[in-house]
Symmetry: C2
Subunit: 147 residues, 2 copies
Amino acid sequence: MNELVKFEQYLRTHGQKMTRPRRIILKAFIETEGHLTTEDILREAKKVDPGIGQATVFRTIRLIADAGLAREALQDDGARKFEHLADHPHHDHLLCVGCGKIIEFLSPAIEKEQQKIFSQYAFLPRGHMMELLGLCPECQAKQKKGE
Amino acid sequence: MNELVKFEQYLRTHGQKMTRPRRIILKAFIETEGHLTTEDILREAKKVDPGIGQATVFRTIRLIADAGLAREALQDDGARKFEHLADHPHHDHLLCVGCGKIIEFLSPAIEKEQQKIFSQYAFLPRGHMMELLGLCPECQAKQKKGE
DNA sequence: TTGATAATGATAATCATTATCAATGAGGTA
DNA sequence: TACCTCATTGATAATGATTATCATTATCAA
Ligand SMILES: [Mn+2]
Ligand SMILES: [Mn+2]
Ligand SMILES: [Zn+2]
Ligand SMILES: [Zn+2]
């Protein structure tokens, strides 16, 4: 797993240590697709070692994100969600406000326009978050039936 | 103030009542520009009536948002922020990760592309959140000096 | 192998938000 | 206007996610 190597490198260059819990948490996170809460990650990690604590998951997921291996997905409320970036190119989200369904998409046109905004204000780009909110076809049909 | 009329209308059509605290909170919110937390709003409202409780601010700001007079600004963490929509057309945010400075902008090109995404997936648009993160010119200079 | 130091996990603390509830207020009706 | 019903209020407790604390344990460079 290449992610493990990257993570070890990140830790080394930041004066931190690779540990058994960190290895387990990283592996559980990378091997699970989707938008995960720390609770989700803890559940997976506990399958390997039930002794792992949730505080360690919070600490480790932040390290993983800082290492550039994960990003925080937009949370409406409740718990934060993370998704890994392994073989997962950058994308944005289209979310159904009715059922919570998430569609991932990438719009090169939008990405290009965003760069224009950055340069227009002389900002050094550091990323962006974009979430489109709408009603999916199924929820539209459900709503029509409802009234 | 036109917003007061709209809010009264919203309340009436939803079987809810206009009250003195609600009037004070709405006025304080509309008359303050920027991205406000409920604590900010409470502070302003207390200047008019110190007896107002923070629970009422939480409840009222949600009503105001539901009435279409406010929207939630993207919060990284900590308290939620709201901004009113009175004489304030839709816009997105460019945020400096160094100093927290916020620039409001509108990109018609991006808005148009977002509509394309919605129709591509047959979603009924309900809004969007977009935040560009970067380093402002001042913070870039500061950083260069730092090392 | 050792020793300095970082990491762990249990637990308490924090902080924003929501729920509860007795008292009050709004506003339609007679 | 007086009344009556039901929404609203503010104080306070509860909740839920995240962070801080701290004694114990593990890592890893020398
Ligand atoms: Mn995603
Ligand atoms: Mn704004
Ligand atoms: Zn849906
Ligand atoms: Zn800045």
